[in-house]
């Protein structure tokens, strides 16, 4: 039995929690698991295929999980940022969740893959990761694996897009958005999309057109990107869930770069650090105000 399984079994058998949310082996690789019986703690795994961010299940929107009781959730360092976000924005209280941190050496972009972790198969947020030792956790298990392979290709792609002309950037994003059918998968899997009623679902007045035509798709994706400013945990789940393969992570990453530059703020795993969207400082830059 692994350290993770042992800990989960103890938490469940001592009734410290009602459910341990981790990963298990599924028909298509690693997938989320909800263990309520201590005898089944041996289902839990952690390896390079544990790509999914389980912090999403802590969102109060997941009403069907509430009957299971207090949750322990297994988090990688990046996932802990989402938990911190939920605490920072008063969606959950720190004492209402037990966090089991796992030391991480990067995960595969596709949890159904059986490939080794290489520069080609690693999730694009992993290279250069600063959160391999999970913060915020009550328990940390496992040894620290080697750093994720590869280089931060995302920032290079953003730099290329930034260097292109506005019309080329427009063409790039309109081509990507043209595949969107507004299934809302990006929103539903996002740990930080916890609004009880999303602006996109409002009809009186209807702020955003729900139709997947260029106008509606542009309005939706820009609105979502701006609502994620200084909030996105960079877990990559929106892009992974998108059945159309739209590189939504690029948008969020670009916004994060702007927030870092304008407000010297990077989304981290300390919930006591306020996010720029919820704070005011006399030193905030204001040269854009006419």
């Amino acid at each position: 039995m692994t350290q993770l399984q042992e800990l989960a079994r103890t938490l469940l058998s001592e009734a410290a929690v009602g459910v341990v949310i981790g990963w298990e082996e599924g028909p298509r690789g690693a997938r989320p698991a909800f263990v309520t019986d201590p005898a089944r703690a041996d289902r839990l795994i952690f390896d390079r295929r544990c790509t999914a961010n389980l912090a999403t299940y802590l969102s109060p929107r997941r009403t069907h999980l509430a009957p299971l009781g207090k949750a322990a959730v297994v988090v990688k360092g990046c996932d802990a940022r989402a938990v911190a976000g939920l605490i920072r924005e008063t969606q959950i209280r720190r004492e209402d969740v037990v966090l089991i941190g796992v030391r991480c050496g990067g995960v595969l972009a596709d949890p159904a893959s059986t490939a080794p972790l290489t520069a080609d198969t690693v999730a694009d947020r992993c290279p250069g990761c600063q959160a391999r030792e999970p913060g915020l956790a009550d328990h940390v298990v496992g040894d620290l694996p080697p750093a994720p392979p590869g280089e931060a290709t995302r920032d290079a792609l953003i730099a290329r897009l930034d260097a292109s002309s506005p019309s080329e950037r427009w063409a790039f994003w309109m081509r990507e958005f043209s595949r969107c059918v507004r299934c809302n998968a990006c929103r539903e899997v996002c740990p930080m999309c916890f609004c009880e009623r999303c602006v996109a679902d409002k009809t009186q007045p209807q702020w955003l057109e729900s139709s997947p035509h260029p106008r509606g798709n542009l309005a939706w994706h820009l609105t979502r990107a701006l609502h994620q400013a200084g909030r996105c945990a960079d877990c990559g789940e929106c892009a992974r869930a998108c059945p159309a393969g739209i590189p939504l992570g690029l948008l969020n990453r670009k916004i994060a770069q702007i927030v870092a530059e304008r407000f010297d703020y990077r989304t981290g795993d300390d919930p006591s650090v306020p996010a720029p969207i919820g704070t005011y400082s006399l030193s905030d830059r204001q040269e854009f105000i006419l």
Binding site: R31, P32, C183, H213, A244
Partner: protein
């Protein structure tokens, strides 16, 4: 009509002929990101012919993700309504997967049931589907369990089966016969014995390893399984994101919206929607009869494997496996069906209850 064959060279020429005559040709083709989608091609080499399963099914060519139903303009003596056309230009889909082609015909039933959907059938009549026998995709395939198979010609007008370096072309429908007749110079007569061999080799290879699911038993279990604890268990991981429905060849629910375009005019459109979204059933009062994800996931399984077959005589699923592949949370429809099969089995835990 006798069975025909067609060579790659003639498929290439056929696409050239069609494009030259102004016919839109859609085929699986690789998109910028390296994935395969069904999309218009202008020459055969653009097609990723019988390589990967396209990301989305064929349904968008008959029920687009968004489409106008009519436009309105206020002013003058009253409201002026502009209808949309229900007749469409000829369209050829080349290299459809059998699971996708079958889905379109299954959907004809609901689209022509209490109301004949003119937009659906307008596109259906304008479109000729040439499918190609499937080499299989991966372990999430379960087409044979839904009563079809990798070589099934259901929903196709012409069925192509790889036969060495040519394709056997079976004419399936009168529309297919017309198509082959109009393009007769691109097809050759087939020789008998090799034909049967080629067809059976393909089907055997792709059907190997697929799960056996006794759908009548699944259906019987579902008829009494509404309150079973299974639903709350399998829905734990489900985000309600609806990615499954958007890639599904048979999910066909839509929303109707009125969109103003300026002050005095606008368009009524219908857009894809999904029972996996909470807002799909929420009432104006705020009450939602499908209160949680367990109820919504149950609806998707019930509709496909109990409600639709009860009304139309066949399941609303062709076993393409896209929902399992698209799910970021690992909810796996073949696994759900295997679980129900085990629950429903004689001597199984549910025998007494059902």
């Amino acid at each position: 009509m006798n069975a025909k064959t067609i060579t790659i060279a003639n498929l290439t020429a056929l696409v050239d002929d069609l494009v030259a005559s102004g016919t839109c040709v859609t085929a699986p083709a690789r998109a910028a990101g390296g994935k395969v989608d069904y999309r218009p091609i202008t020459s055969f080499p653009e097609a990723a012919f019988n390589t990967e399963l396209p990301r989305r099914s064929l349904k968008e060519f008959f029920l687009p993700p968004t489409e106008p139903l009519f436009s309105w303009r206020l002013g003058g003596p009253g409201i002026r309504i502009s209808e949309v056309t229900t007749s469409f230009a000829p369209h050829v889909i080349l290299g459809a997967r059998p699971c996708d082609a079958a889905a379109v015909e299954i959907l004809d039933r609901v689209m022509g049931w209490d109301y004949r959907d003119e937009l659906w059938f307008g596109r259906r009549e304008a479109t000729t589907i040439l499918s190609v026998a499937c080499p299989g995709v991966d372990g999430s395939c379960f087409c044979t369990a839904t009563g079809r198979g990798p070589e099934s010609s259901r929903g196709s007008d012409v069925m192509l089966t790889p036969l060495g370096d040519v394709f056997l072309a079976d004419v399936v429908t009168p529309k297919g016969e017309t198509f082959v007749g109009e393009n007769a110079k691109r097809f050759d007569d087939a020789r008998g014995a090799a034909v049967t061999d080629g067809a059976s080799r393909t089907s055997n290879a792709a059907a190997v390893g697929q799960p056996k699911l006794p759908l009548p038993e699944v259906q019987r279990w579902l008829a009494h399984g509404f309150d079973h604890e299974l639903w709350s268990t399998i829905a734990l991981a489900c985000h309600g994101c609806g990615a499954c429905a958007s890639v599904c060849p048979t999910c066909h629910c839509f929303d109707i919206v009125d969109e103003p375009e300026g002050v005095l005019s606008g368009t009524r459109r219908r857009n894809w929607d999904t029972c996996q979204a909470a807002r799909f059933t929420v009432h104006a009062s705020g009450h939602n009869p499908r209160a949680d994800q367990a109820a919504r996931l149950r609806q998707r399984v019930m509709h496909k494997f109990w409600i639709y077959p009860s009304r139309f005589g066949e399941v609303l699923c062709t076993g393409c496996g896209r929902c399992a592949r698209a799910c970021s949370a690992g909810v796996d429809l073949p696994e759900v069906l295997r679980t129900i099969t085990a629950l429903a089995a004689p001597g199984g835990p549910e025998e007494a209850a059902v």
